[in-house]
Amino acid sequence: MPSLKALRTRINSVRSTRKITQAMKMVAASKLKRAQSQAEQARPYAERMERMLGALAASVAGSPIAPPMLVGTGKDEVHLLVVVSADRGLCGGFNAAVSRFARNRIRALMEQGRTVKILAVGRKGRDYLRREFRKQIVGSIDFVGRKQIGFEDAVEIAGQVTAMLQDRQFDVCTLIYNRFKNVITQVPSEQRLIPASIEGTPAQTADGPRASYEYEPGEEEILAELLPRNLAIQIYRALLESAAGEQGARMTAMDNATRNAGDMIARLTLNYNRQRQANITKELIEIISGAEAI
C-alpha cells in the first residue's frame, strides 16, 4: 500500500496533466474552427477550376499535343507518392493512420516491381517512413513553427513535383493524405495527381456542348498554365483537409485524455481517503488497547 504522501503527490501530478490536456483540447477546438473555414473558402476555386479543366481536357483529349501532366508519360514504372501528415504529435492515431496507409501502399507497389519515390510533407510522416524507406524518400517539407498554411506552400510543393515531372523522374504521382470526414473521423485516402484524374470528361466529340469554347491564347498555352495551377490547388486542398483533420484528431484525443485523467483522479482520491480512514482506525485501536492494558 503506498503511503499517504505518495498518493497525494500522485493525485496532484494527474491533476496538472488534466489541466494541460484540457487546455490543449480547447486550443485544438479553436484552431479546428479556423482550419475548417479556411478549407471551406478554398472550395469554390477548386470546384470552378475542375469545371474549366474538364472542358479543356475534353477538347485536347486524345490529341498528340496533350501535355504529360494531363495524360502522364504513358508508362507506369516509377511512382511518386506525396504523403501529407502533421508536424506535431499528440493527436491520437492521426499520423500513424496515414503513415501506415502509405507504408502498405508502398509495399504493394514495390511487390509489383515498381520503383517508388516519396515526397514527405509533414515531420511525423517523414520520421515514420524514414525508418523503413530511407532510400526512397526524395524530399521532405515541413511547416514547423508556422501558424497557418498558405497557398504559396502548396505552390512550392507543386513546383517540386512539376520540376521532377519535367526531368522525367516519375510516371505516376499520387497524393496520400488524411481526408477530413468529420471532427472525429479522418480517413487516410489517396488521390492521383498525374496523370490528372478528371471526372465527368468522357471523350467528347467536336460537336459536344462543351467543345464550343473559344480559347485565347490557344488550348495548349492555357493548359500549360492551368495544369500546374490545378496541381497546386489539389495539393492545397489536401493540406487544408489534413490540417483540419489534425486539429480534429487532437481535440478528440485530448478530450479522451482529459476524461481518463478525471477517472484516475477519482480513483486515487478514493484510495487516499480509504487509506486515511484506515490510519485513523489503526491509531484509535492502538490508543484503546493501550488504555485497556493499564
Binding site: A42, Y45, R48, M52, Y215, E216, P217
Partner: protein, 138 residues
Amino acid sequence: MAEQTTLEIVSPTRLLLSEKVDLAEIPAAEGYIGVLAGHAPMIVTLQGGLIRVHQGGSVTRELYVGGGFAEIAPDRCTVLADEAIPADELSPETARARIAEAEKAYEEAAGTREGEVMERAMARLVAARAMAAAASRR
C-alpha cells in the same frame, strides 16, 4: 435594363465576388475584354490588371487581379484569379515593393536569354505596374 451576366471572382483562398452585373471588364492576356450577357463561350488567361464591374452605366467596383484564368459563358463569367484584391485595399507601398522585386527578377531573367523565363518575369512586372497604377489612382 438589359440582361445581366453572373460574375464570379474566386482566388485560391476565398470567393471574392458573386453577383449579377451589366458589364465586366477583364484584363485578358491579349487585351481587355468586356463581357456582357450572351457573350460567346471563351476560356482566356489573364494578365495582371483591374477587373471593372459596371452597373447601370457606371463602374461600381474595381478589383486587382494578378493573373489567372477566366471562363466566359453566355450567362456567367468565372474568374479564377491567382490573387485578387479589391482596389480600395491596395497600398502603394506594396505595389512599389512588388515593382522593385519584379524589375530585379526581370533583369536576372534577361541575363538567361531564355524566352520563356523572360516572358514570365515580364508578366510579373506588368502585373506589379498595374497594381501600382490602381493603387495610386485612388
